[in-house]
Amino acid sequence: MTHRDIVVVGAGPAGLAAAEGALAAGARVTLIDSADQPGGQYHRMLPEAYEATRPEALQHGWTAFQRRLRRVRGHPDCAWWSESSVWALERPDPAPDRDSDLDRDPDRDSDPDRDREQPRPPRVHVLRGPADGSGRRRTTLEPDALVLAVGAHDRVLPFPGWELPGVFTAGAAQALAKGERVVVGDRAVIAGTGPFLLPVAASLLEAGAQVLEVLEANTPRTVARGWSQRPWQLAAQAGKSGELAEYTALLLRHRVPYRTGRTVVEARGDGRVEEVVTARLRPDWSVVPGSERTLAVDAVCVTHGFSPQLELPVAAGCALRGTLGGEFVAVDDDQATSRPGVYAAGEITGVAGAPAARAEGALAGWRAAGGDPDTAAVRRLRRSRDQGRAFAERLARAHPIGAAWPGWLRPETVVCRCEEADYASLCRAAADPAGSAARVAKLATRAGLGPCQARVCGPTVAELNARLSGAPADREAEGLPVPAPHRRPLAQPIRLGELAAAPQPPHQP
């Protein structure tokens, strides 16, 4: 077997397992993450400067994680690139002329698996240096196979006042508490949907905040029906039950109410959040009139699920698949995407939590490196990956976004945070007969044209447009290209100076 060069983007549970899998199959691995420490969201580590003596106090599965980390980072064939952002993927020419490909490695041609990998995976453009700094080093890698494991971020639906300081995504509260011991407030409400509400509540309690309420928007019936019978058994298969039971016990101990069928429908305050209005919801998330309650808070943490970070898979040309929980990267039984030599693992293929991300990663790394597809260990990985997928499906069914959520919007509610485009302007653009197509709406309202490039509001604006105009979200407007959500030529910001500087050879320390 030849030594393949594998690039793994993302060093969370999925990427780390992918690196380990690829190394086990005999590949050389470059593991890249924009963070300065590995671990991703789930194993977010404390800064080294904290010199923590008991970092495991905040972590689940810490020993196994540390062991894996040592095996990967200590491996002679692994290069760990921290503070390195993949800012673009450049696809090879669409139709490579195989005969004129003079500098092909004859060794590689004798490898039957190679055929599948024509054309080659995209070139990987990397910037190395502190986040958004100037003068980072620019480097390009040309791997034999690429594993994308870039994870997800919270999806948050707009509501009046969600742009006030003091309203955070649940993930932000988690990242600050776990990653640098900053607690976002003293009197917090955690709202939205999904099991992620629980670890966030646990982190805030651990860090000494008062958690007034945890609000699951879905009704007990929706949640129970989604999980069907024996939800805990299913969770056990996905390796999650102990963790969830622990969080539940913690909420009980701190007497934090966990309410279902209720959510935050408004945040109010003068320059920062001072109170929230919560309301009871019907199964479709319409507000039950008269059920509103006001609560004084200094922090609100919200999550309505996770959005996968799709810009790199889309840049690589990977096909997506629509699911109940939104669009994800489509992968086959080996975690291979629709593009030759490009594999995907973790939350970009579906949201099922860290154990599932690990199984997917291990499989993706092993197969990307050309590992034997039919060993007992691989079969075991596939089984646990399949359990993860089943878990993801139940999760999506138990914690859907109710169709009537726009009922809590007001005309002046900001929908696109960057451009401060409000609901009224979206409605106006949609009412204009020429304006129903998403692209026209975008130009008319500027929704989605700000610095975040629609990462936050994209799915929401598409959904609202489709509903308001009665047209599918991607209807083509006269003379304008069909909008391509997730298409962001620059996956991460790069400065002009950095772009102009000559790229450097990759294998410099």
């Binding site: 904290y50 923590a52 986040a131 958004d132 932000a172 900053v182 607690v183």
Partner: protein
């Protein structure tokens, strides 16, 4: 009280605090080594430091580099995501505004102020 750092003495993770000082628009703000700029600002009870197009205040929203709400200028570098950049002792942070009269989009029409 609002956002703050868990006290080192009582922190379950058993950590050390090594103080650092940055300036924000010239004013000194204290933090500890290892924190992100966003963490330093929040723990100093600065919940907002950027202004949107309407002048509305913004701080941290996503915490992981996705929303760009937290942008600051660090030294000469504009548009640094404060939630992703580790603070260094002596960092000179300047806040940004997209409102008219702010650093960006100076020639936009004046929107109604949303904040007193």
């Amino acid at each position: 009280m609002s956002p703050r750092r868990v006290r080192a003495e009582s922190d379950a993770v058993g950590r050390q605090d090594r103080p650092l000082r940055i300036t924000v628009d010239g004013e000194p703000v204290d933090g500890v080594e290892g924190q992100t700029l966003a963490g330093v600002l929040l723990a100093a009870d600065r919940l907002a430091w950027r202004r949107g197009r309407s002048g509305a205040p913004r701080g941290v929203f996503c915490g992981i580099g996705v929303c760009f709400d937290c942008l600051v200028t660090v030294g000469e570098d504009r548009d640094v995501r404060a939630c992703r950049r580790r603070a260094r002792d002596g960092d000179e942070v300047t806040t940004q505004s997209r409102a008219p009269g702010g650093l960006v989009d100076r020639n936009e029409p004046t929107p109604p102020p949303t904040e007193k």
